[in-house]
């Protein structure tokens, strides 16, 4: 263990030192090859121009190499692998996609993913917005926001344990140590095994993600609400608008762009949701989702890379519209710079 800590520290020093050495050294080398000082005026200008061509690539070079290896190459390779068999060696054409269309588990996963997509972003955004508006009106709002924000720091696995404890089931009549069943039993209801309850169990898993992500929506929307010009709100009050009208007709339309950002961010997260399903049910009782199914195929019986890659492609296809929208949005913003 000591060796492990030592090697971690060593790597930090080597990594950071290496980066510094690279950037400094490459820059120095460039100055040596194309000197701009101590040469004639024309040559100096010429060399400065050449430096100008090369230097940006020295700066972005390491990032580009890492991005190429860890993101760009894999995207292409995953697409490629989705046309190959389980070992990734022989070409099978569209066989994996044909399998995908007919596979029951996969269809079930897509259905569940759609359910997640319909519920989680909407619930997070809505709850986040309500909490943001309410906490803005009270003196202890900052503390309240901190506490609601807190689950965002908790890992999905940790959150799953927390909620599994809440959903814990004991037979009827026994002492319930799970909070939810204790409440149900207190009011005379039947304790339930929540995570295997057909169909509804999906929602009990979604609650975990909503619990984590509402704080995110709240913080972003809260700052957008602060940006609303006060005159518009005052004018609405003078015109006799009630609180609900102010909320729906004055506030919400003005922060529509931020709501869209929050919504899409959570949508992407939902498409990738994996840890919660793995730890709560591992896809049993019809709670499978694409990301967990893909992980399953990656390692099932030594791993089926073709089918795994195909599922990854399906997730990717769902993300592409958001990706295009983001790039357009960013181009609009940076167009002038």
């Amino acid at each position: 263990m000591a060796a492990q800590i030592f090697s971690a520290i060593f790597v930090i020093i080597i990594g950071v030192g290496g980066c510094v050495a690279y950037f400094w050294g490459a820059n120095r080398l460039l100055d040596l090859i194309f000197p701009s000082r101590g040469v004639s005026g024309a040559a100096a200008i010429n060399n400065l121009r050449r430096q100008g061509y090369v230097r940006p690539w020295l700066f972005v070079g390491p990032a580009l190499i890492i991005l190429a290896i860890y993101l760009i190459y894999p995207v292409v390779a995953t697409l490629w692998l989705s046309f190959f068999d389980r070992g990734g060696t022989s070409f099978v054409g569209l066989a994996n996609y044909e399998w995908a269309v007919g596979d029951h588990d996969l269809r079930n996963s897509i259905f569940n993913n759609l359910l997640w997509l319909a519920v989680v972003p909407a619930a997070c955004t809505f709850l986040g917005l309500i909490i943001a508006v309410l906490t803005d009106k009270i003196w202890w709002g900052t503390i309240a926001k901190s506490l609601i924000f807190l689950p965002l720091a908790i890992s999905f696995v940790g959150a799953s344990v927390i909620w599994k404890f809440i959903y814990e089931y004991r037979g009827e009549g026994q002492v319930q140590i799970g909070l939810l069943n204790a409440i149900i039993q207190y009011f005379g209801g039947q304790p339930q095994v929540w995570i295997s309850l057909p169909f509804w169990n999906n929602f009990f898993l979604m609650v975990i993600l909503i619990w984590i992500q509402t704080g995110f929506a709240m913080v972003i929307l809260s700052s957008a609400l602060r940006g609303i010009p006060e005159e518009t709100l005052e004018a609405a009050v003078i015109d006799g608008a009630n609180p609900f009208q102010i909320f729906w007709k004055i506030m919400v339309p003005q922060i529509w762009g931020t709501i869209a950002v929050v919504w899409t961010t959570i949508t992407i997260l939902v498409l990738k949701v994996f840890d919660i399903v793995l730890t709560m049910t591992n896809g049993q009782w019809n709670t499978q989702v694409l990301a967990n199914l893909m992980f399953d195929w990656m390692f099932r019986g030594g791993g089926d890379f073709g089918r795994g890659a195909t599922i990854a492609i399906i997730i990717m296809i769902a993300v592409i519209p958001i990706m295009v929208w983001n790039i357009r949005q960013a181009n609009k913003e940076t167009g002038g710079h």
Partner: protein, 384 residues
């Protein structure tokens, strides 16, 4: 906020209540595992954690010793002893001899069991069974009693989990993964961000677009090719394919688009005058970056560092693919997931382990919340 809503007393009161309810829902689950992790492991299963400050009471049944344990006293046959034997003592509030009336007699009172047989049971569990006739048979009298134990808090669970369940070791593994994976991307991203913000070169706009596109590419797209690549590299050089170096680089790669995006938008917003006056003074891009841009960018570097730290610490997927499951490599999230399988239902272990895994993020989060929120506001397109 200047909204003039909720001015009435009821309206304001309603807002306080509503926020209080939200805060309760968002904190009680975490409180539950914190409280449970500090409870005695027998009490966790005996009562809900919300009752942990009350004595936990339960109904039990036991059997008194048989005829062989009798003694003779004052012409009567007597069996004496303690119902708890050598086990942990609890406090008895009531007892009975019929399953239909398990708490018929108060502790300390004498119960008349017909034919002159009497049973006295005290709060500490000691009992006296006496009879005018000799006892018969080896099976003793069946008794029922309601007992309670005072609340008991302990750090024993933490000792168990840290030292015998392997969580302590996993904690070190998580640190080993997280710190380099947080530090390495920062400098690489900062240089790239500066070039993309302030240097003119062909292909710059395309690069920015690619990086923004990569922000949302699901991790799942990278896993299989990288797993194959790592296996190939491992086999080619005869080294293990699951190494800390491998996961450091993987986390660096996955974190880079967000890092570059976040840093670029901040660095691009730095005042142009500062850059230009430095350039007129003869400073090169390298000098401008090191002496002006880096110091000015401290807040955004801190934001990214917190993000990356939390992301890597809380990650399960990358760790499960690129690291082994042996004790020398398994990180906290993966260990917790494994414990859910092997120790399912042992809540003293699960709650304690879960609390240990979340304590570092919570600490980072509370101490550096300002930077965290700033980063969140600047870069809310990645989504975890």
């Amino acid at each position: 906020m200047a909204t003039k809503t909720g001015k009435s007393f009821i309206g304001r009161f309603g807002v306080h209540i509503a926020v209080l309810v939200f805060v309760a829902i968002w904190t009680i689950p975490t409180l539950g595992i914190l409280v449970s992790s500090l409870r005695d492991k027998d009490q966790i299963v005996a009562s809900g954690w919300w009752n942990s400050f009350a004595s936990s009471s339960q109904s039990e049944a036991g059997r008194l010793p048989g005829a062989s344990a009798k003694t003779q006293k004052d012409g009567k046959y007597v069996i004496e002893g303690n119902i708890f034997g050598d086990g942990p003592k609890r406090e008895i509030s009531a007892f009975g001899v019929k399953s239909s009336a398990p708490t018929q007699y108060k502790a300390g009172s004498v119960a008349d069991l017909n034919d002159g047989v009497t049973l006295q049971m005290n709060a500490d569990g000691s009992f006296v069974l006496s009879s005018p006739k000799p006892f018969e048979g080896d099976r003793g009298q069946r008794v029922y009693y309601a007992s309670s134990a005072p609340p008991k808090f302990t750090t024993e669970n933490y000792q168990t989990v840290l030292f015998s369940e392997g969580i302590g070791r996993s904690f070190m593994n998580s640190l080993t993964v997280t710190i380099p994976a947080t530090v390495i991307p920062i400098l690489i991203a900062a240089f790239a961000a500066y070039a993309l913000a302030w240097m003119r070169f062909p292909g710059r706009a395309l690069l920015i677009a690619v990086i923004i596109g990569l922000l949302v590419v699901p991790l799942q797209m990278s896993l299989i090719p990288l797993l194959r690549l790592y296996n190939g590299v491992g086999a080619f050089f005869g080294v293990p394919s699951k190494t800390y170096l491998g996961i450091w680089l993987a986390h660096t790669g996955f974190g880079l688009p967000f890092a570059i995006y976040l840093l670029r938008s901040y660095i691009a917003g730095l005042p142009r005058e500062i850059m230009e006056s430095a350039r007129i003074d003869g400073a090169s891009d390298f000098e401008i970056f090191v002496k002006i841009v880096l110091p000015l960018s401290f807040p955004v570097l801190a934001s990214f560092a917190i993000f990356q730290f939390l992301w890597v610490w809380n990650d399960l997927l990358v760790a499960m693919v690129f690291l082994g499951t042996g004790p020398d490599q398994i990180v906290l999230t993966a260990k917790l997931n494994a414990l859910l399988g092997s120790r399912g239902g042992k809540w003293e272990i699960l709650t304690t382990s879960a609390f240990i895994t979340i304590i570092v993020p919570l600490f980072v989060f509370f101490s550096l919340q300002r930077y965290f929120v700033r980063g969140l506001l600047a870069g809310s397109v990645k989504g975890g």
